[in-house]
C-alpha cells in the first residue's frame, strides 16, 4: 500500500446526500433477509440446547427422534468427524456443536431437520441427553481464582503467571516509562475499581440461513452475516470440504455490529443438509440469539492515575480483566491497548487478561474491548478534573495525544484528530449551555484502531453506458451507496448511472468481513482503483478510435478527450459513446482491483451528554447528546451521521440499562427484549452528530472508517454525566435505576 494516497480535489458526488439504493426495497418489504429465502423440498432445522451452564455430556440418544415421521436428519457432534487445523476454528466448532461438555446455558448439543417446524420441535423433545452437571462460574474475578470451576484444561498461554485458574488464558502487558517515578511526581492520585456487564449487540434480525449440500459435494449457503467469505472459509474448514465447493451468498442484514462476524447456525445447517440430502433452513428465535450468539465481554477494571494540581497526568495504570465467555477471545488486551490511547503519557502501564467463564463465547460489539476501558479511564479523569476544579475538556486537551506522541500501546502516532474533536466540543454551544436541578453534563473521549484487509472490486462498463459495480462485503452501513458514489465521482458520471451489488463468494476473490470500520476505507479505495483501471481502458479505446497514442488522452468529466492541442482535434468521447462501440474497439470493458488494504489510520471521538437524575427513583433521562468524530471525508454524510448516532445510542443502552443477568444456577434470566432493556426512540433525545473532516493520507479521497469509534466514549460520557447529576460517582454499569438509587441513598 502506498502511504500517501490522498490528493485534494473538488468533489461533485462524494459528500452529497443521494437517495440510498436499498431504501425502496427495505421500506416495501421486498428486501430479502436471512429468513426470507426458501427452496423446493426444504426442511426446517432446529437446535437442542443445554439447560445447564456447565455439564459433561455422558450420552445422547437420538433414536426416538430419528424414528419420528417427518424427521429427515439428526446431528450431534459425532457427525462432525473432521477436526479443523486451526485452534480458533476448532473453538468455533465446539461452540456451534458441543463436544464432551456443554459450556453454557444454551449451548447446542444436537440438531434436527424435519418437514415442519412442529415436527422438528417435537423431535428435539425426543432426544435424550444424559448430563453430569458440573460446577459453573459466571463472574470474571471469580473465574480467575485458583479453585474456580475449570472450563478447559491445558489452554493457558505462556504469558499467564502461576497462581491463576486455568480459566485465565492470556495476559498482555503494555506501556512505557517509570510508573513509580510518575506517581511520585503526582499531587493527586485517584484509584478506582469498575465493573461492566455483558451486553448484546441487539441487532433486529436474528441469525438465519438456508443450506443446500448436494451429493456431488458442492454446497450453497444463503445467510445473514457480516462476512460471507468468512462463513465460506469457516464452514468448509469445519466440514472438511474445499472452500471453492461452497458458494455463500449474503442476504440483506438487519444489523450486526460485530455480532455477525462468526458463524452459529451455518455449519449445523450444512451438516443437516448433507445428512438429509435436502435444503435446510434454520432461524434463531430471539431467546436463542440472547442465550447462544455472541454478546460482548463483561469486565472488572482497576484504574490508578496520578496528576499534578494543574492537571498534567504523571502516571497511569490499568488492570483490565475481561471474561469473553467459554472460549478465548482477545478483548482484555484490546482494553489494555485502547484505554489510555487518547493521552500523551510519559509513564503508563496496562495489563489485559483473557478469562473464560460459563457464558456464550463473546463476539465483537463495534470496537471490541474499548468502550469498557474508556469508561473506567475517563471516569477517573473526570473525577480528578472535578476535584482539581478543572474544565474536563481543558484537562484532556492538556494531556491529549497528537502527531508524534508515543501511544500507550507502543507505536508513535502519525497525524491524528483527537485535539480537533476536543476543540470542536469545547467550541460547541452544548458545552456551555445552562443545566437545571438534578442535571449533569459529562464528556468522554474514545479511541479505535480501524482496519483494512483483503478486498476485491469489479466494475463493468455496460453497453449502454451504465456501470455495474460488484463488491464482496455485506452492506451494513450504506456501502452500496458510498461505493456507487466513489465510482461515479471517479468516472465523472451521475450517481444514478452506477448500481452496486454484493457479489457471492464464487464471483469475486477473498474479501475480509465487514468489520474494523474497514469497508468505506478499503472497498472505497478498491472501487476508486477499479474505476481508474476502467478509465485507462476507455482512454485506450478512444485513442485507438482517433488514431493517437493513449498517453495523449485524458479523462475529464466522464469523457475521454485529447490531452492538448498537439494530440489532435477531436470532440470528447463520453463513457456512453465508448461503451456503445466497445464490441468494435476490443470487446467488453471492465476494471477491477484487488488489494490487502492495510495501514488504515486510527480514529478518535469526543462525546458530550446531559442527563437528569430522578433522586426518588434513580431513573435517568438523557436530555442532550452530541458526538464529535473525524471521518476523514464523509462520502455520504447521512450514513456517517447514522454510524455516530447508532454508536451513541448503543452506548447509552450499555451505560444505563442493558445487562446479561444470570441466576444462581448459571442460566440466563433475561433472554428477551421484555427483560433486557434496550433504548427505544422515546428514551432518547436527537443525537447531534458533528463530523470533522481531517483527510486520511492513506486513502485517495481521505476517507477514514467511522463504524466503531462511536461506541467507545458513550459509557464514560453517560457515567460522568450521571455521576455529576446524582452527586455520586458511579463505577458499575449499567447505571440502572435500582443501582443508582442505592448509590444515592448510600451517599446520604
Amino acid at each position: 500500500m502506498a502511504k500517501d494516497e490522498f490528493q485534494s480535489r473538488e468533489f461533485k458526488v462524494v459528500g452529497t446526500r443521494v437517495p440510498r439504493p436499498d431504501g425502496l426495497d427495505k421500506v416495501t418489504g421486498r428486501a430479502r433477509y436471512g429468513a426470507d429465502m426458501s427452496a423446493p423440498g426444504m426442511l426446517f432445522g432446529y437446535c437442542l440446547r443445554s439447560p445447564h451452564a456447565h455439564a459433561r455430556i455422558r450420552s445422547i440418544d437420538t433414536s426416538q427422534a430419528e424414528a419420528m415421521s417427518g424427521v429427515k436428519a439428526v446431528v450431534t457432534r459425532a457427525d462432525f468427524i473432521h477436526t479443523p487445523e486451526d485452534e480458533g476454528t476448532r473453538d468455533i466448532l465446539d461452540n456451534v456443536m458441543a463436544g464432551e461438555k456443554a459450556l453454557y446455558d444454551g449451548h447446542t448439543v444436537a440438531a434436527v431437520a424435519a418437514t415442519s417446524r412442529s415436527v422438528a420441535l417435537a423431535a428435539l423433545k425426543a432426544i435424550k441427553v444424559d448430563y453430569e452437571v458440573l460446577p459453573h462460574v459466571i463472574d470474571v474475578d471469580e473465574a480467575m481464582k485458583e479453585g474456580a470451576p475449570v472450563l478447559h484444561e491445558g489452554r493457558q498461554q505462556e504469558s499467564v503467571p502461576k497462581g491463576y485458574s486455568q480459566n485465565v488464558l492470556a495476559r498482555s502487558q503494555y506501556g512505557h516509562g517509570d510508573i513509580a517515578a510518575g506517581f511520585a511526581k503526582a499531587d493527586l492520585i485517584v484509584e478506582r475499581s469498575f465493573t461492566t456487564a455483558a451486553t448484546h449487540q441487539g441487532y433486529i434480525e436474528p441469525h438465519a440461513c438456508l443450506a443446500t449440500m448436494g451429493n456431488d459435494g458442492q454446497g450453497d449457503l444463503w445467510c445473514c452475516t457480516q462476512g460471507h467469505y468468512m462463513v465460506r472459509n469457516t464452514c468448509s474448514a469445519i466440514l472438511g470440504m474445499e472452500a471453492g465447493r461452497l458458494k455463500v451468498t449474503a442476504s440483506e442484514i438487519g444489523g450486526g455490529f460485530g455480532g455477525k462476524t462468526t458463524v452459529f447456525l451455518e455449519p449445523v445447517a450444512l451438516m443437516l443438509s448433507k445428512k438429509s440430502g435436502k435444503p435446510v433452513k434454520m432461524t434463531m428465535a430471539r431467546e436463542e440469539v440472547m442465550r447462544a450468539s455472541g454478546p460482548t465481554a463483561s469486565t472488572s477494571i482497576d484504574i490508578k492515575i496520578g496528576m499534578t494540581k494543574d492537571g498534567k497526568i504523571t502516571a497511569a495504570q490499568g488492570d483490565f480483566r475481561y471474561q469473553s465467555g467459554c472460549f478465548y477471545a482477545m478483548n482484555g488486551a484490546l482494553g489494555a491497548m485502547c484505554g489510555f490511547a487518547p493521552y500523551d503519557l510519559d509513564n503508563v502501564e496496562t495489563v489485559g487478561w483473557e478469562v473464560v467463564t460459563n457464558r456464550p463465547k463473546a463476539a465483537a460489539y463495534r470496537a471490541p474491548g474499548a468502550p469498557m476501558a474508556a469508561f473506567a479511564v475517563e471516569s477517573v479523569i473526570d473525577e480528578m478534573a472535578k476535584e482539581l476544579g478543572l474544565d474536563p475538556i481543558d484537562l484532556r486537551l492538556l494531556n491529549a495525544a497528537d502527531e508524534g506522541t508515543k501511544s500507550a500501546y507502543g507505536p508513535t502516532y502519525p497525524a491524528i484528530g483527537l485535539k480537533a474533536t476536543l476543540e470542536a466540543a469545547k467550541a460547541h454551544p452544548h458545552w456551555s449551555a445552562p443545566l437545571g436541578e438534578n442535571q449533569g453534563r459529562g464528556m468522554g473521549c474514545g479511541f479505535w484502531f480501524n482496519f483494512g484487509g483483503d478486498t476485491c472490486v469489479s466494475l463493468m462498463i455496460n453497453p449502454d453506458g451504465t456501470v455495474s459495480l460488484s463488491e464482496g462485503n455485506p452492506d451494513i452501513g450504506g456501502s452500496r451507496a458510498s461505493m456507487s458514489m466513489m465510482a461515479a465521482e471517479e468516472l465523472g458520471i451521475p450517481y444514478e448511472q452506477v448500481r452496486c451489488v454484493i457479489a457471492d463468494t464464487a464471483t469475486l476473490g477473498q474479501n475480509e468481513v465487514t468489520d474494523g470500520s474497514r469497508v468505506t476505507f478499503a472497498v472505497g479505495l478498491a472501487t476508486i482503483k477499479a474505476a481508474r483501471h476502467a478509465i485507462k481502458i476507455m482512454k485506450e479505446r478512444a485513442a485507438a478510435t482517433w488514431g493517437i497514442e493513449p498517453e495523449a488522452v485524458e479523462w475529464v468529466d466522464g469523457a475521454a478527450q485529447p490531452a492538448g492541442p498537439n494530440a489532435g482535434k477531436f470532440p470528447p468521447m463520453t463513457l456512453k459513446e465508448i461503451a456503445e462501440t466497445a464490441s468494435n474497439t476490443g470487446g467488453p470493458i471492465a476494471g477491477h482491483f484487488e488489494v490487502n488494504a492495510e495501514g488504515a489510520g486510527v480514529s478518535f471521538g469526543t462525546h458530550i451528554a446531559d442527563t437528569e437524575v430522578d433522586p426518588e427513583t434513580g431513573a435517568v433521562k438523557v436530555l442532550r447528546y452530541t458526538v464529535f468524530q473525524d471521518a476523514g471525508k464523509a462520502v455520504h454524510p447521512d450514513y456517517v451521521e447514522g454510524q455516530l448516532q447508532g454508536g451513541a445510542v448503543q452506548g447509552i443502552g450499555w451505560a444505563l440499562n442493558e445487562e446479561y443477568i444470570y441466576g444462581e444456577d448459571g442460566t440466563l434470566q433475561n433472554a428477551g427484549y421484555l427483560d433486557y432493556r434496550i433504548p427505544v426512540a422515546s428514551d432518547l433525545p436527537m443525537i447531534d452528530p458533528v463530523i470533522l473532516e481531517i483527510p486520511n493520507p492513506g486513502h485517495p479521497y481521505g476517507v477514514r472508517g467511522v463504524g466503531e469509534t462511536g461506541i467507545v466514549p458513550p459509557l464514560a460520557t453517560l457515567a460522568n454525566a450521571v455521576s455529576r447529576a446524582a452527586g455520586v460517582r458511579m463505577t458499575s454499569l449499567p447505571m440502572s435505576p435500582p443501582k443508582l438509587l442505592a448509590a444515592i441513598k448510600a451517599q446520604g
Binding site: M1, S172, Y174, A363, A364, P414, D515, G516, E598
Partner: protein, 81 residues
C-alpha cells in the same frame, strides 16, 4: 538492523528485553527472523500478531518495506467488529 519493540509481557520470553535487533527489510523477514532468533516467541507468532510500522498497523502484508529507521512495534493480533 531493525529495532523491534515487543509488548511488555512478551519480554518475559526474551530475557526481559523489549527492544530486539533484527535483520529484516520487510514484514516477512521480520517475523521469520524473530521466530528463528527467539524461539520462545514462536507460540505467540504462530497465534498471530499485528505489526505497527511507522504508526500504521499491518497484519499480513509480507512485503511491506521496513527500513533501519522504521519504528516497528509488535502488537497483539488486532481485530474489529
Amino acid at each position: 538492523m531493525v529495532t523491534v519493540t515487543l509488548w511488555g509481557s512478551l519480554a518475559d520470553l526474551t530475557g526481559g528485553t523489549r527492544d530486539l535487533q533484527v535483520k529484516a527489510t520487510n514484514l516477512r523477514e521480520l517475523l521469520t527472523t524473530l521466530a528463528q532468533d527467539y524461539p520462545a516467541l514462536r507460540p505467540q507468532l504462530d497465534r498471530g500478531v499485528s505489526v505497527s510500522i511507522d504508526g500504521k498497523i499491518y497484519n499480513d502484508s509480507w512485503f511491506q518495506p521496513i527500513t533501519e529507521t522504521s519504528e516497528v512495534v509488535l502488537l497483539n493480533r488486532l481485530e474489529g467488529g
